[in-house]
């Protein structure tokens, strides 16, 4: 076997080693100081945790089957909210995606504005958006749809713009060279390259939206979340068990389907 002489590793200076050590020490000191500041009776806390676990966990695993009807209606509503929201976002994100793509707007400044709008939209967490829309349109599923739509538009717009920026511009050049006009190039050069990726991202976002919309009900924006908050407040752990079971099943099934569809598309 041949032996290779690798070039020697650059030697770290003593000062660098010392600096790393000092930083580690400082971080440890910070933690110790913080935990000493917490006034808590660790013994009692642990005891309560263990006792509550004993009560709650077994109940979660014996779901209250009498609530199946109500839970399935609400979970259906959750799916609808997610679907309507992602569908709206998938369409709203298209113009924004084009605006934010540098190779489309052909202008750093305009693309910058597009990117800035999209970051601005993305900065709002779904729950905050839901609260805003509950205030605006009342505590119903429509508020949830709007919250999901706006929240997803931010992410989809960003992903769309990246798809557009990554397409093969040589194809576009070839079409320009054959005398096609801008609209024809859009349909023959851009669309075949971007539509499959757009769809794939929209479906992926729908997957995320299912999870997001299942908690929106906590602030009154419709869906299964309303039942979660009631069950938790009433300590109705058997019903909570059923709700969680329903969410797990729906999320798993949709993840599975979405993965399969997306594999087919691209």
């Amino acid at each position: 076997m041949a032996t290779y002489n690798l070039p020697p590793k650059p030697v770290k200076s003593v000062w660098k080693k010392l600096k790393a050590g000092l930083i580690i020490l400082a971080v440890i000191a910070l933690y110790v100081w913080t935990f000493r500041g917490i006034e808590i009776d660790w013994g009692r806390a642990m005891e309560r945790v263990i006792r509550n676990f004993g009560i709650v966990i077994p109940k979660l695993f014996s779901p209250d089957w009498s609530a199946v009807g109500e839970v399935s209606m609400k979970i259906l509503e959750t799916i609808f909210i997610a679907f309507a929201g992602s569908f709206m976002a998938a369409i709203l994100a298209i113009p924004l995606g084009f605006l934010a793509a540098q190779n489309m707007s052909g202008n750093r400044f305009i693309a910058g504005i597009g990117k800035w709008i999209l970051s601005g939209v993305r900065a709002f967490p779904d729950l905050i958006l839901a609260i805003l829309f509950v205030v605006a349109v009342g505590p119903n599923a429509f508020a949830g749809v709007l919250a999901i739509a706006i929240g997803s538009t931010g992410m989809l717009g960003k992903l769309y713009s990246e798809v557009i920026e990554s397409i093969d511009m040589n194809v576009i050049e070839a079409m320009e060279a054959s005398g096609a006009n801008k609209i024809q190039i859009l349909f023959y050069g851009y669309m075949p390259q971007i539509i499959p990726e757009f769809l794939s991202y929209a479906i992926y976002r729908f997957e995320i939206d299912i999870r997001a919309s299942s908690i929106l009900g906590i602030v009154g924006a419709g869906g299964i979340g309303t039942m979660i908050i009631f069950a938790a407040n009433n300590r109705n752990w058997n019903e909570m068990g059923l709700i969680l079971l329903a969410i797990i099943i729906v999320v798993t099934v949709i993840d599975f389907l979405s993965a399969r569809i997306r594999r087919k598309i691209v």
Binding site: D168, N170, V171, E173, A174, M175, E176, A177, S178, G179, A180, N181, I183, Q184, F187, Y188, G189, P192, Q193, P196
Partner: protein, 258 residues
Amino acid sequence: MIEFKNVGLVYPNGTEGLKNVNVTIKDGEFVVIVGLSGAGKSTFIRSINRLVTPTSGELLVDNEDILTYRGANLRKLRTKIGMIFQNYNLVKRSNVLKNVLAGRLGHTGTLRSIFSMYKKEDVALAYESLQRVNIAEKIHNRADELSGGQQQRVSIARVLTQKPSYILADEPVASLDPPTSHQVMTYLKKINKEDNITTIVNLHFIDMAMEYADRIIGMRAGEVVFDGPASEVTEKTFEEIYGRTIREDDLRGGADES
């Protein structure tokens, strides 16, 4: 007819792409432009369909100065000039027929093309073009299922469907192996002779240039340093064009295999 009159091109970064180029290309000629990479071959070819715009001089295509063209005029010019690229530039996810029909876009109304309502003659023309380059059986395959040589033949079919008066080919064989390169050049030559389409090809392989060209134009550093019939060209000429001795990798070889 294409006439370069004192054409110069300076890129925004200050590079001189073309320097005082004076060339006349008559209808039906098969011209090969040779030169090292960076010599201005691409700039020369791309000036003709205005993918780049020269900054000085006059460039006449069919006796009209095309340097002032914009918008509709420019698209009209481009519909009569077909172009073939080194990387084929097909839409990989679309099928062969759709790619070939794209050559017809310049002749088709916007609405018609959006709804893919091509005229019967256009579809027939697309099919006939594919037959001419011997790839008609792949008509319903997706472009990314084809090999490099097959993709280049599809791109030739696309150009044929455009029914151009001029064909520009920018390094059409640089990504292909020797036998396929000869096949592609043979098709280009055949089309040039049969349809009397003026063809201008960029190549950097000197053996291929000598084999296929009627006329060879040599470029170095943006200037035309040689212009003459292929029969007058020897290795010595190429050494002058390249400014160095000829090496193994300046030759494509494999002429006998195709």
